[in-house]
């Protein structure tokens, strides 16, 4: 009987080895371990053994049974693994095929950079003001200390509607409009469209965008102007940006300044981008002229302030290496979708 058991175990293992799928394993389980299986039959035959031999033999049969069971389990596990491997091998996507996506629109490049500039100033506690593009001569010139026939008017070729109404040549009239409405503390920027009668070419447009800034309160100093604008430049151009301030003239600020940034193309050595100067002009600024404050009903003996203005297009052109201003207004989607 012992020999019979050995043979059965060997036979089962042999057959299991040859088995190739889970159905075959199941058939073997039935054949050996099932109610009518061979091992079960062997157990039944134990009645013929002597009482001494019976427990020994029972232990042996049980051992054989658990061995076969374990072998069956092992085989099933191996088969499943094999099947999984086969499946993972067969199921393959071409991951290089382009994705399917809903189209997404692009913000105009001017808006992209303007939003960035707005965020910088919002973060510094500025509010955003806006005002008319078709403007009174008074706000665009006179209140900014540029009376009729002032030579500085010549530098701004103005589109007129009537003698007293024009298309604003700068966002600076917003300084006056804000100061008329609001008393200090004032801390605003005013972005918007401005107009000058320049023929269209790669670097000129009769319509472009400026961003004006104004800070007025007691005790505002020229050093605050420098600090604020230097901080702005570092936010916009990166911590490593180097700026310098240079005297200049605007009729509505005194002292007036221009802020240059060290050329990011040549690092200040002089190149084509900076026209050999090593510096690129970024914005104009200055302390609000006492006459302008006074004209808005703000006492210059008590309050002071600074103002600044910059052109958006030039900042954006340098940011993205755009060499033709006309592209901004042509709005070809192949252009817009690059940014």
């Amino acid at each position: 009987m012992k020999e019979q058991l050995e043979a059965l175990r060997a036979e089962a293992q042999e057959q299991l080895r040859e088995c190739v799928d889970s159905a075959g394993v199941e058939a073997l389980r039935v054949r050996y371990l099932g109610k009518k299986g061979q091992l079960t039959a062997l157990l039944r035959g134990m009645g013929a053994l002597s009482p001494e031999e019976r427990p020994k033999m029972g232990a042996l049969v049980n051992q054989a049974r658990s061995e076969i069971e374990a072998a069956l389990e092992e085989k099933i596990r191996a088969l499943k693994q094999e099947e999984l491997n086969r499946r993972l091998q067969e199921e393959q996507l071409d991951v290089t095929v382009p994705g399917v996506s809903a189209p997404i629109g692009k913000k105009h490049p001017l808006t992209q950079v303007l939003d960035e500039i707005k965020d910088i100033f919002l973060g510094m506690g500025f509010q955003i003001a806006s005002g008319p593009e078709v403007e009174l001569d008074y706000y665009n010139f006179e209140a900014l200390n540029m009376p009729k026939n002032h030579p500085a008017r010549d530098t701004q070729d103005t589109f007129y509607i009537t003698d007293n109404i024009l298309l604003r040549t700068q966002t600076s009239p917003m300084q006056v409009r804000v100061m008329e409405k609001q008393k200090p503390p004032i801390k605003i920027i005013a972005p918007g469209r401005v107009y000058r009668s320049d023929e269209v070419d790669a670097t000129h447009s009769p319509l472009f965008h400026q961003i004006e800034g104004l800070v007025v309160d007691k005790g505002i100093r020229m050093s605050d102007l420098k600090g604020t604008l230097e901080l702005f430049a570092k936010r916009l151009y990166g911590e490593e940006a180097v700026v310098r301030f240079r005297p200049h003239h605007f009729s509505f600020t005194e002292p007036s300044a221009e802020m240059d940034i060290r050329c990011f193309s040549c690092g200040g050595k002089g190149c084509r981008l900076c026209k050999g100067e090593g510096w690129i002009e970024i914005l104009g600024a200055g302390m609000v002229h006492p006459k302008v404050l006074q004209g808005c009903g703000i006492d210059p003996a008590e309050y002071s302030g600074f103002a600044f203005g910059m052109g958006l297009e030039r900042i954006v052109m340098r940011r993205f290496n755009i060499d033709d201003l006309r592209l901004f207004f042509e709005n070809d989607v192949r252009f817009l979708e690059q940014f």
């Binding site: 629109g105 955003i128 500085a152 009668s197 309160d217 005790g219 420098k226």
Partner: protein, 799 residues
């Protein structure tokens, strides 16, 4: 304003290079645009003396020259020019030399004979007969004067003085002069400014009274008029040094007297004029207004028509110059002129400017007068001109000066407190530095009192108050020496207004819907209104009109941005972009009255064309937009709208929300594409931002997620094509009541199985209650009410 370094150095010691001067003066407030020198790109061109000239053995037009160039051995050079002879001094470009044109000269052979350089013509040295009147255009430049062979040519001819170009801001007309810039240079380097007092002799036996009377009839337009007479002048070319300076700064030398007027104008900033005394009829000069429509021929030979507000200089019989703009052909300096009248006058800037504009004639003189000149500088300039006339034209200055001076401006004084200036600037500049700086700029400072009293020099009309003095001080102190501080002030809030936040949401939603943002001009051609098919009496044709536009295309401010959108779509279409989805937050300008500002409003314009684009894709974007800003879509009505002239009457909807028109959308009218160059099937929407802002928004509020199951039912109807889905949906919603969670259209069918003129419309309905599972009976009840309602509209249930 162009000057040369050497000319500046007449008035201040300057040992810096032009590059350093450019940098330093830019930082002290006189911005340098550029600087250059004739010799920047000239190498190895020297003076040579021709020792021998022999004919070339193999050529009848070439000559072989032996030239002394200061070396031990003569240099052999072959030339084609014929105007040379032994003993001539000529410019020689040696082997490996560089000429102003960028050409390098190398030694070589000409028809077998070695030539070790080149003899140069004027043109090859980028010079003209204007600079060198005794040379010829075609041929070798023969140098007059004595030079040592081997001397670099730039040194020999004085072509080594660098030119520096300054950008002068309109507030500083005093810097439109060598003296003004030298004063700035002196203050920049804190060195003495060397004032020059002109010296000349007057003929004690002859008085200007014997020649001339001056009457100023318009003292307001001519605050000061002064004149002197110089006799015995000989008209000839100016000396080389003067020609070089004029040439370097871009002024063409003409003759000594004309050059003197230009030279003095550049040096002093005071425009000068010289009349030939022979031509002044009646021995008198009158400063008066022109006659209306008077004809007058200016120096440039042009006949001009004057007006009665133009100031002129007249003699006893008629006009001889337009004041401050240009002299007349009738009183021009001729080669045989012997007696001249120098005019040094101050004219009112506005008067000159208006005349210059009206005549379309802008000269160096007029652009200076326009900026407002200092009447006090008339005298120094006149004396300088006399000094030069004596030195350079052999003239004898007649005794006396005619000086009609109506300038009554008092000298301006400004009170100033150093501590206040430091507080204003955020600096700690010493009072001593402040006083010294102002003094160098010729302000008189009385610091014996508090506040200080500062007198402004007459040529600094721009300095009006303490802030101006602060600028003078701090620009010399150095802007970059001002500390950088952050503002200490009452807290302000950096936040968007509700309007700005809404605009941000709208923009973001449209971008997410695949629409690219565009940016178009605010001014358009009035023809755009024709292209938009607006009727002749449309209010949209009433535009704010630019009186001096660049051209018709940009001549009126748009009242609608539809044209801008359609033009942009057309540009894309013509650039062969297969499809486009665009939007613009566009400002429009609504005319109010002739003397009032227009109303400026933002309108959102959306546009699309191309494959997959339809009324419904555009409507989808509009719906997303409304949803995103909190407008409950189920309360928005899209009403068929036939009135807009630019839109297809059968494909257009007006967007209504609680009785307000938010905007409209639709397909363009079939006659539109031809005008703009667009394809068929272009879709546009126009939303009024003001209305979106004003519209009631639903509060965002949390609703618990449903706990009870939903029941879905479908309903299909057959109806006439004209019955709108909206009308059916409205009835279904009404009848469905609270338990109708959603209604969705899932199919519209027209075709074989449906009779002609009819359509099948199918809805998918979802029912749900918050507090219980709905029973079939409950739902069936609602369904039958819905069916009754829709049938009442003329539809039949499709089974």
């Amino acid at each position: 304003m162009n000057v040369t370094k050497g000319w500046l150095a007449d008035f201040v010691d300057l040992h810096e290079t032009a590059a350093d001067i450019a940098k330093d003066m830019t930082m002290s407030g006189s911005k340098v645009e550029t600087f250059s020198c004739w010799n920047d790109h000239v190498e190895r061109v020297v003076v040579g003396r021709i020792l021998a000239v022999t004919p070339h053995p193999d050529s009848d037009h070439l000559l072989i020259c032996q030239v002394d160039t200061g070396e031990k051995e003569p240099v052999q050079i072959v030339t084609g020019a014929q105007n040379i002879k032994e003993g001539d001094l000529v410019p020689v470009a040696l082997d490996n030399s560089l000429l102003p044109s960028g050409t390098r000269i190398k030694k070589g052979k000409l028809r077998g004979v070695a030539s070790n350089g080149m003899l140069c013509s004027l043109g090859e040295l980028n010079l003209t007969v204007g600079n060198f009147p005794d040379c010829i255009e075609n041929g070798i430049m023969i140098l007059s004067g004595d030079f040592k062979p081997g001397t670099p040519i730039d040194e020999a001819l004085g072509l080594n003085d660098p030119m520096i170009e300054f950008e002068i801001t309109p507030n500083r007309p005093d810097c439109l002069s060598v003296i003004g810039l030298a004063r700035e240079a002196a203050a920049t380097y804190r060195r003495p400014f060397k004032k020059h007092l002109p010296v000349f002799h007057e003929d004690p036996n002859d008085h200007i009274r014997n020649y001339l009377r001056v009457t100023v009839e318009e003292p307001e337009a001519c605050p000061r008029y002064s004149a002197r007479v110089v006799k015995n002048v000989k008209i000839e070319p100016s000396p080389l040094w003067l020609r070089n300076r004029l040439h370097a700064v871009g002024v063409r030398p003409i003759n000594n007297v004309v050059d003197i007027t230009n030279y003095v104008m550049l040096e002093y900033g005071q425009p000068m004029h010289a009349f030939d005394y022979r031509t002044i009829r009646g021995g008198e000069i009158r400063v008066k207004m022109a006659r209306e429509k008077e004809k007058f021929t200016t120096l440039d030979g042009q006949e001009r028509t004057l007006g009665s507000s133009m100031l002129t200089i007249a003699d006893g019989e008629g006009t001889i110059a337009i004041a401050g703009i240009m002299g007349g052909l009738n009183s021009e300096i001729e080669n045989d002129t012997t007696t001249i009248v120098f005019e040094s006058a101050n004219f009112d800037g506005v008067t000159v400017r208006k005349a210059s504009r009206a005549l379309g004639l802008r000269t160096d003189a007029s652009s200076r007068y326009e900026k407002g000149l200092d009447p006090a500088m008339v005298e120094g300039a006149l004396n300088r001109a006399c000094e030069l006339a004596e030195q350079l034209a052999g003239g004898t200055v007649v005794e006396g000066v005619l000086d009609a001076n109506n300038d009554a401006r008092p000298r301006r004084t400004i009170e100033m407190m150093p501590a206040r200036i430091n507080a204003f600037l955020g600096t700690d500049i010493s009072p001593a530095f402040m006083k010294e700086s102002l003094t160098m700029l010729e302000f008189d400072v009385d610091d014996s009192r508090e506040p200080w009293l500062v007198s402004v020099p007459s040529f600094r009309d721009d300095a009006e108050g303490e802030a101006d003095l602060a600028e003078e001080i701090v620009r010399l102190y150095g802007y970059n020496n001002i500390p950088t501080t952050l503002v200490q002030m009452a807290t302000t809030q950096g936040m968007l207004t509700p309007e700005q936040s809404l605009q941000k949401t709208v923009n973001e939603t449209l971008l997410a819907c695949g629409y690219d943002e565009i940016c178009t001009y605010s001014f358009i051609s009035p023809k755009v209104y024709d292209k938009l098919l607006l009727p002749a009496d449309s209010v949209y044709r009433r535009s704010v009109t630019i009186s001096n536009p660049l051209g018709e295309d940009t001549s009126v401010m748009r009242t609608t941005a539809l044209g801008s959108m359609l033009s942009t779509l057309a540009t894309n279409y013509n650039n062969r972009n297969l499809s486009a989805r665009l939007f613009e937050p566009a400002t429009t300008y609504t005319y109010t009255a002739a003397d009032a500002l227009p109303i400026e409003q933002v309108e959102y314009v959306l546009g699309s064309y191309g494959k997959g684009e339809s009324f419904y894709t555009l409507k989808g974007a509009v719906e997303q937009l409304l949803k995103a800003i909190g407008i409950p879509l189920e309360q928005v009505e899209f009403i068929p709208w036939r009135e807009h002239p630019s839109l297809h009457p059968g494909k257009t909807a007006k967007i209504l929300y609680r009785g307000e028109t938010l905007g409209f959308l639709g397909g363009v009218h079939p006659l539109i594409p031809a005008g703009f160059g667009l394809p068929e099937n272009v879709w546009i929407a126009n939303l009024y931002f003001e209305k979106l802002l004003a519209a009631d928004k639903a509060a965002r509020e949390y609703h618990p997620l449903p706990k009870f199951p939903a029941t879905a039912r479908d309903l299909a109807f057959v109806c006439k094509k004209e019955l709108t889905v909206g009308a059916m949906e409205k009835v279904i919603r009404e009848k469905g009541g609270k338990i109708l969670e959603s209604v969705a259209l899932f199919d519209i069918y027209e075709g074989k199985q449906i009779a002609g003129g009819m359509k099948s419309v199918a809805f998918s309905l979802t029912f749900r209650a918050d507090d219980r599972t709905l029973s079939d009976e409950e739902i069936d009840q609602k369904i039958s009410k819905m069916i009754d309602g829709v049938v009442a509209l003329g539809a039949a249930l499709r089974t």
